[in-house]
Symmetry: C2
Subunit: 400 residues, 2 copies
DNA sequence: TTGAAAGCGCTAACAT
DNA sequence: ATGTTAGCGCTTTCAA
């Protein structure tokens, strides 16, 4: 094995050294180390190139070659403020001047400088996103999509930063955000949980997929895990199952707690008994260091003389492991055993055979709503407090 | 079915309406719509609170309550510039004054205003990340992690934006970046491909996971797919397989092209025949609208009288489908059939039973290197052009 | 409808 | 080692 690895390393190194050129022969891209000239050409700022002659000498070589509002003003022969008015769509500009200014903006390639604007207005037009690991976690990237879609319609930009779980990183990030005079912050977590802040945020903040442990009333948007759990259980019951197993998440996280409660309530609502030996955790270990053990747990449960006919699961990964467990015991899904997932993590739920019936976490909507609420707060809406729960629709596929 | 859905909707609505309070009884978070007072308290800017009496009347109520460099200067009794020097770690400040200023900065809670700094220096301290869908695609989020890690060590921030494939979105993003006077841009794609720019970027740009079709010499960092493909084929050969199948990606994408070439070359290097009927695409449809069909393709191949003993695959999703295909035919992996993945998308590769031997795409490293090179360019290093390929290490697990 | 003046917070370029 | 002056690009305020 060690020998093999050594060999591979050598092979790899050899290929690395030469594969670039090979790659290029395939792709017809020339591999040349760009010389200074072409690099410079490549990066030269294009605006300012027109810079025509109507202005006095003073306007000559501005740093960074950036066209300023003054350049435009001089070009048209109006005041700075008039250009500013046009750029910001303010009233009180005659149609004629407006057209003239707009033409000049286009030909000169003027782009407003948000930094300068910030200095005057104290509004940066940027919203910050802090995530524990959300931006690097497949399940929840939809949150970011939702946020981005909403934020960009409000002509704001998104500055994102990752704590990667490190508290000192979080401090640094808040600091950076203050430096950039971020207008507002969205604080998102990878999974639904409670968070604690070292100090209460000094910037308007909306929590995404989490709630604040110490700050009741802090605006936050979370999935309705209770409802999702209830709907999943109902599905199993409605399909006629009475022997219902449940391979859960780490029972300590909020989502598991709420869904577990929902499971019990749903079962009770139909007078079906909850069998403790059929409710088992699919993960080992504490929060943040979970180890998947659903395969073994499921096999164990399914090999008993009296076994469940359907398995509810904590998430789609657990469901997938149950699927493999069923296969390994020669059971057919859903005929011999039904399986219901959670999350609708499509890379798994839609691609597994058979595809999973699963409860979808409304991550995209959560992102949109959270951004919505933050924007409302920034616009001065003062009533936007409290926890908001979004429903988790069930997605029916073949597994149960 | 329609009835069921209707029922579920009603149930869901009912639960949504009431589950919030239920959720709270579990989580001990009060659900109160925060009143104006507490909201204001929550969001009041904390800095500026100390604002002690040594300054003249003029310093009274500044907008946004932000402490400026002038406040600090007045507090200590030095000039603005001296504070500026301390804040920027410039030389020529006596240890004594420096200590004094630092103390004042701390007590007043001064945070530099990057916008104002930008106006003078024309450097925003922000790097922009444009991605087609990378930030929302599981496989490649590691690219972002790498970029962030590298960028944050350089005390730069990251502004990210998603084109979601829409070309007009891309235009808007470049515009936004210009407005914020972004220092440099990282342009990342979800999968290794060639990109075309409407107009050549006006900001220093490094391509990530892609190469420019029209701009040779544009700096870019990509995985060495050829080498990865070669290593995968070698693994199969070294395990003694001679009947080697290959369920590929959409053959039109660069990665598939390069790996296919590598496969052929590797087979040739050992004098093993490539069987065309065993090389088949696991996806249907054009670029961007691929439909997974690996399950059917694999079953087809495996049911033939003469069948491969190992399946190389285009990615781990394809590998997973091959796994299901094998199971469905009662084959054991890896005994009856070995499977080798690609990408090392851990959510699948590590959690499937048996876990996948697979070739890892070095996304994290790609991110780091790309950021590296951009920072070098920004620092004035003019030699940083051309395509850079990073090796793809093989990860040995149980499947082959 | 338009413009002039002032100044936001900061730093470059000089004094001292 | 420290301060002064000026001005970055923009908007606010007020006057015309």
């Amino acid at each position: 094995m060690a020998i093999l690895c050594g060999l591979l390393t050598i092979v790899r190194a050899r290929w690395l050294a030469t594969s670039i050129s090979r790659q290029l022969s395939t792709s017809s891209i020339l591999f040349v180390d760009v010389d200074n000239l072409s690099l410079n050409r490549l990066y030269v700022v294009q605006s300012g190139r027109v810079r025509s002659g109507s202005d006095p000498a003073e306007t000559a070589e501005r740093k960074g070659d950036m066209v300023s509002i003054r350049d435009v003003a001089a070009h048209v022969g109006v005041s700075d403020k008039t250009v500013s008015r046009v750029a910001n769509n303010e009233p009180n500009v005659s149609a004629r001047t407006k057209a003239l200014v707009e033409a000049a903006i286009a030909t000169l390639g003027y782009v407003p400088n948000m930094g300068a604007r910030l200095v005057r207005t104290n509004r940066s037009g940027v919203i910050g996103l802090i995530s524990d690991v959300v931006s690097t976690t497949p399940n929840s990237v939809d949150i970011i999509r939702g946020i981005q879609d909403r934020v960009s319609t409000a002509k704001q930009s998104l500055l994102i930063a990752n704590t990667a779980g490190a508290p000192d990183a979080e401090q640094r990030i808040w600091r950076t955000f203050q430096e950039h005079r971020i207008d507002g912050v969205l604080f998102a977590t990878m999974y639904h949980r409670r968070v604690t802040f070292a100090s209460r945020p000094t910037i308007p903040t909306v929590l995404v997929n989490c709630t604040a442990a110490d700050e009741p009333g802090m605006p936050s948007v979370v999935p309705d895990d209770y409802e999702g759990g209830y709907v999943a259980a109902l599905r199993a019951l409605d399909q006629g199952h009475r022997k219902i197993g449940f391979v859960t998440l780490n029972p300590k996280i909020i989502a598991a707690e709420l869904r577990g409660k929902a499971f019990i309530d749903a079962m009770a609502s139909r007078g079906v008994e909850v069998r403790p030996e059929w409710v088992r955790a699919g993960y080992l270990g504490g929060i943040g260091e979970e180890q998947l053990c659903a395969y073994d747990v499921a096999r164990d449960m399914l090999q008993a003389a009296d076994r469940p006919t359907v398995l509810l699961t904590g998430n789609d990964q657990v469901a997938m492991q149950c699927l493999f467990a069923a296969h390994s015991l020669g059971m057919r899904v859903p005929d011999d055993l039904a399986i219901i997932g959670f999350d609708d993590f499509q890379m798994i739920s839609a691609q597994v055979i058979p595809p999973l019936t699963t409860v979808a976490l409304p991550y995209y909507d959560i992102g949109v709503r959270a951004a919505d609420r933050l924007l409302a707060i920034l616009a001065g809406d003062v009533s936007e407090g409290g926890v908001e729960c979004l429903p988790c629709p069930i997605v029916i596929r073949a597994s149960g």
